[in-house]
């Protein structure tokens, strides 16, 4: 809450002595400085848009939108170059889809457990562990995915089709683990915010703990839960390092999740390592893909904010 002092100070400042006036100047100075810092964040967004848009527009003056969205061959850095973006869009869809298949059930399971089942002592132990999992750097998860998850788990136990040394499947699984804490902690916040009275009503009607959790708390917290999933999905879409290390760098457009894959983000990382000269087609391609990635995550974020706003149950 902000407390206004303008009115309270008005009579004082009318008769302001030098000292008081100086105090008010100091206040105005700091208020201005802090305001500047806050407006700076809007500047960052403008910079992002400009830095992506200018090279992307130059890219689209060289490569037509028709080729970008119409062709299905993605070899922008090789001769002869081909700029059909679908293989990396589908690659992104694979890794994100697999990640969500892991993170939605298990993340929500953790959230329900923490909010409805665990007592305070268990929570106090579990939550720091989740924070540690959330803090594991993606490059470390990439190591784990490439050298343990893919060869020891996915290649051994995946029943359908072949799994290569680099696989979109393993990358998706590891990204899924990465976003479990995101889903769990945001969904848990939403469920904890449901008032106790609703639960007690559920119990009074003879509901078991599970029934109260699934038919009272879960629906009441649905908007927050959906927002958590959308945000986690947007993190999975933008995940670069894990996908680059575990799924490899050869874009494929196909139905086998065990294949090598490239996502939009991992293409940016891959091409960025190659140190493209400013203005070269390779350089411009990075920004065209980056713009697409930014637009997708931006839209998802707007969706999640609107879900929370529109469907939030207000309890008084």
């Amino acid at each position: 809450m902000v407390i206004r002092t303008d009115t309270a100070l008005a009579p004082v400042s009318l008769r302001a002595t030098g000292a008081t006036r100086r105090r008010l100047y100091v206040q105005a100075l700091f208020k201005g400085l802090f305001g500047l810092a806050a407006f700076l964040t809007v500047g960052v967004t403008i910079l992002i848009v400009l830095s992506l848009l200018i090279p992307a527009l130059r890219f689209f003056s060289e490569v037509s939108l028709g080729e970008f969205f119409g062709s299905t061959r993605w070899t922008p850095l090789f001769e002869p170059p081909s700029f059909g973006v679908w293989p990396i869009v589908v690659g992104t869809a694979w890794t994100t889809g697999i990640a969500l298949l892991v993170a939605i059930p298990f993340g929500l399971g953790v959230a329900v457990y923490l909010s409805e089942y665990a007592d305070r002592r268990v929570r106090a132990i579990l939550k720091p562990f989740l924070e540690i999992l959330a803090g594991v750097p993606t490059v470390v998860l990439g190591f784990f995915g490439l050298f343990l998850v893919n060869p020891e788990i996915v290649q051994r136990f995946w029943p359908i089709g072949t799994v290569s040394t680099f696989s979109g499947l393993a990358a998706g699984l590891v990204v899924g683990v990465m976003i479990i804490p995101t889903v769990a902690s945001l969904a848990e916040d939403a469920m904890t915010a449901v008032p106790r009275g609703l639960r007690e009503g559920g119990f009074a009607l003879g509901g078991t703990r599970r029934e109260v959790a699934t038919s009272v708390v879960f629906p009441a917290a649905l908007s927050g839960i959906v927002a958590a999933i959308v945000l986690a999905g947007s993190r999975a879409i933008g995940e670069t390092t894990i996908v680059l290390l575990v799924a490899g760098s050869r874009p494929t457009l196909g139905w086998n999740p065990g294949d090598q894959m490239q996502s939009m983000a991992s293409f940016i990382g891959f091409a960025g390592i190659g140190d493209q000269p400013t203005g070269s087609t390779g350089y411009l391609t990075i920004f065209a893909v980056g713009l697409l990635l930014f637009i997708i995550t931006f839209l998802l974020n707007i969706v999640s904010i609107r879900i929370v706003r529109r469907f939030r149950e207000v309890y008084e």
Partner: protein, 302 residues
């Protein structure tokens, strides 16, 4: 008289009414699923830690942190990456913490919530927090490393990029810390004739410092593990010296690990694991400091 909490009543009622065997089975299966979920999260973390320690064990010695990167795996180490990370993350903290805390103070203490531009700033920060970090790398490549600022592939470029990455979380965390300061403190100060700024500076900020510290340590630790945006601005290059200033070329720990992983020779694998263990230890250390500060703060309030 013994008091019965509503929860006990609820449990008693729940126990009595869940007599139907089908319900009891479904309840048990559901609970099992919840345990499995927790097991997946914890199991993965524990497997990951065990895997890293066993694979990295042969290389977890002082040579690892003393040696410089080398093309020969038996001699390679991560000294330049450790110093690079210190430089980059230190600079990031120096820039992002004052900026982020200032923005938080403005939004929490000064901004009128009903003004459209203040609402824009809030929405904008929320959105920035969910922009993929690799996109900040592209901004850095276009405007900081090349283009307008042309700082090249240097410590400063990396620090500015990571500042942009962590700034939204620093702002959000600092705002939460400011919001936790009770309003009575503000009212008292204002009633005694202090200006808004004096109230913020002398009362609110000191009370919020532990919370801000916790939040900023956690946010900065994110910068330490970040790899994606720096891939675009030369952090993956082979650097065998420590940075000497903001304009030095550099590498950082996550990207040293990235290099070890992408080396074709299998002898680099234990190095990647060992360097990961070092990185995790530093991160855990920062996390523990943050949690320690938080706990002390909570005790003081009670």
């Amino acid at each position: 008289m013994t008091s019965v909490s509503p929860e006990q009543v609820a449990t008693a009622v729940a126990l009595r009414s869940s007599t139907s065997p089908r319900r009891r089975v479904v309840d048990a299966v559901f609970k099992l699923f919840l345990w499995i979920s927790v097991g997946v999260a914890l199991g993965t973390l524990i497997t990951l830690l065990i895997d890293l320690i066993t694979e990295g064990w042969p290389r977890l010695n002082s040579d690892l942190v003393v040696n410089m990167p080398s093309a020969r795996p038996e001699r390679a180490g991560i000294q330049s990456a450790i110093f690079g990370s210190l430089w980059v993350v230190g600079t990031t903290a120096l820039i992002s913490i004052p900026t982020g805390v200032s923005a938080a103070i403005y939004l929490e203490e000064f901004a009128k919530k009903d003004r459209w531009y203040n609402r824009l700033i809030e929405l904008n920060i929320q959105n920035l927090a969910s922009v993929p970090s690799v996109v900040y790398g592209m901004l850095g490549l276009a405007f900081i490393a090349r283009g307008v600022l042309s700082f090249g592939f240097t410590v400063m470029t990396a620090a500015l990029i990571l500042t942009l990455v962590v700034l939204p979380t620093v702002v959000i965390a600092s705002r939460e810390a400011l919001r936790a300061v009770p309003n009575s403190l503000r009212h008292g100060s204002l009633a005694l004739g202090a200006t808004e700024w004096e109230t913020v500076y002398r009362q609110v900020l000191p009370a919020a410092v532990p919370g801000i510290a916790t939040g900023t340590i956690l946010s900065t630790s994110r910068a330490l593990g970040e790899s994606a945006p720096l891939l675009l601005v030369g952090a993956l290059t082979f650097v065998t010296f420590n940075p000497e200033g903001f304009d030095s070329s550099y590498t950082v720990l996550p990207l040293a690990i990235f290099r070890f992983i992408s080396e074709a020779r299998i002898e680099f694998r234990p190095l990647a694991a060992a360097a990961s263990v070092v990185l995790l230890i530093v991160l855990l250390g920062m996390n523990s400091i943050a949690i320690f500060v938080r706990n002390r703060f909570e005790k003081k309030l009670r």
